[in-house]
């Protein structure tokens, strides 16, 4: 069995040997990057600089919370707002692979700039096994280019350190619990963020819609699970499908977008079963989303696809 205590001990001593100087960690505030930051912080202390980028594709209030967390963890951190640049870079881009690669490259360019200014040679990432497996290469087919693997530009000069490469999410959580990290049970959120929860072009306006829908799905499902109505899924969110259908709003014709509700059960993200959400919870989600998003959204669908054949995120 995977032994988290042994893993922590071994990783810290390897990191001390491997990192000679300052290192930068790509910090999203999720369980992978937080575990990584904690381990590297234990290994090299102040020599580690955590960088969080607000890409404009984060969830409601998320980046603010991440900033607070970096404070609480006592990390030496930099907080970068880059939403305008990201929206600009993704203008007119519809292909999911292109989106992922543009976002991946943009992250690196931002990190490189920090590295240049502060004389940093190493880039630490919380890459875990499914990231490089699904990114493909050589024999393996590319399912999707994870921004931190398939999205890395070829000319990157920073030396990559990925202490969690062989771990799956359930194992990372074990390490997180052993390190007493507050986000150990937080649901996964992809690096490209809401950009890959918008089918088609990820405009600021569509981002606003999917952000609100994700917020409602998260809130309703968390409340339902607290009340014992359902098991808390492994991951749960909304996807914006910019296909318009006809509806009726107060005796008037409506013609708006569609939102899909996605929730899955998994252990390691390599296989997933869609979650059973009780009808009363689906009802609450459906009504709240359509009422909140008004003329923009007038249809809600429930995704009942397993992985395989689907993947968790739609892009």
């Amino acid at each position: 069995m995977f032994d988290s205590e042994k893993f922590i001990e071994k990783t810290i001593s390897t990191l001390q040997k491997d990192i000679k100087g300052k290192a930068l960690i790509a910090f999203s505030g999720g369980v992978d990057s937080t575990v990584c930051a904690t381990l590297v912080n234990k290994a090299i202390g102040e020599q580690l600089i955590a960088v969080h980028v607000d890409t404009g594709y984060m969830r409601k209030n998320e980046s603010e919370q991440v900033k607070q967390m970096m404070e609480d963890l006592g990390l030496n951190y930099r907080y970068i707002t880059a939403s305008k640049e990201y929206y600009q870079a993704l203008k007119g881009v519809e292909d999911p692979e292109k989106k992922r690669k543009i976002i991946g490259e943009k992250f690196i360019r931002i990190f490189e700039e920090v590295a240049r200014k502060e004389n940093i040679d190493y880039l630490v990432q919380g890459t875990i096994a499914p990231d490089w497996i699904e990114s493909g290469g050589d024999l393996r087919d590319t399912i999707k280019s994870h921004h931190n693997v398939g999205g890395l530009p070829k000319d990157m000069k920073l030396i990559l350190i990925e202490p969690l490469r062989d771990l799956y999410k359930d194992e990372v959580r074990k390490v997180a619990r052993a390190l007493q990290i507050p986000v150990s049970e937080r649901q996964p959120f992809p690096g490209p963020g809401l950009a890959i929860r918008i089918i088609g072009e990820a405009t600021p306006e569509r981002t606003r819609l999917v952000r609100e829908a994700c917020f409602i799905v998260e809130k309703e499902i968390e409340q339902a699970s607290k009340k014992g109505l359902m098991e808390l899924p492994w991951q749960y969110f909304a996807v914006l499908i910019p296909i318009k259908t006809v509806g009726v709003h107060g005796d008037k014709r409506a013609y708006g977008n569609t939102i899909a509700v996605r929730a899955v059960q998994s252990v390691d993200a390599m296989t997933c079963h869609y979650s059973t959400i009780p009808h009363e919870v689906l009802d609450a989600i459906s009504t709240k989303i359509t009422n909140t998003l008004g003329e923009n959204v007038n249809r809600i669908v429930y995704d009942i696809t397993n992985k395989p054949p689907g993947t968790v995120e739609w892009e």
Binding site: F2, R140, D141, D268, P309
Partner: protein
């Protein structure tokens, strides 16, 4: 400690096979399918797992050195998905595109009662699949061990040698008795 290596044919779940073996206290490594058999033998292996692979490699082609392992390794070998399909082709069976490919949850029905490879696995259980092709004709020296509604040959074994093939994926979390199947294979390797 028993040594069982995973031969990487490029599957999405190759690393999951490694993880399952490691969780069961096996000394394991993922090695490329181009590794010469001699190098594996130097490391005293007790068994091999031939992983699944990228799309359609079960249909034709050589799959690295897998043929050599099947002919000369003289240790138990478990072929999974493309590894299973290659095993069938290598011994004279036939592999074709599935009429109805299977993805995700499927019910497996065992066709034999007492094979140690399926010890403690009930007659019917849930397994997870991900395949476009399948074995349609069993090789002459093989016995069919399991089937599903849309795939006649889900599991097979060589009549004399310790060679096993599975179309489904015992290494993924959602396969009900996957870990038990690995435990059984490990026991066969220990003998």
């Amino acid at each position: 400690m028993v040594h069982i290596y995973v031969i990487d044919n490029g599957g999405q779940w190759t690393h999951r096979e490694w993880r399952t073996l490691r969780d069961l206290e096996v000394e394991t490594r993922i090695v490329p399918n181009t590794t010469p058999l001699k190098e594996l033998q130097k490391e005293n292996i007790h068994g091999l797992v031939l992983s699944g692979g990228a799309p359609r490699i079960g249909l034709d082609g050589t799959l690295g050195n897998c043929a050599e392992y099947l002919d000369k390794a003289e240790v138990p070998i478990l072929g999974i998905c493309a590894g299973h399909q290659f095993m069938a082709r290598h011994f004279g069976g036939k592999v074709q595109p599935s009429e109805l490919p299977e993805f995700g949850q499927v019910e497996l029905t065992l066709c034999v009662d007492n094979d140690p490879f399926f010890a403690k696995v009930p007659k019917k259980s849930i397994v997870w699949e991900s395949h476009n092709d399948e074995v349609t004709t069993l090789p002459k020296d093989f016995t069919k061990l399991g089937k599903s509604e849309n795939c006649k040959i889900q599991a097979m074994r060589h009549k004399k040698k310790q060679l096993y093939g599975l179309q489904f994926h015992p290494e993924v979390e959602h396969t009900q008795f996957g870990e038990q199947i690995f435990k059984n294979f490990i026991q066969l390797c220990e003998k």
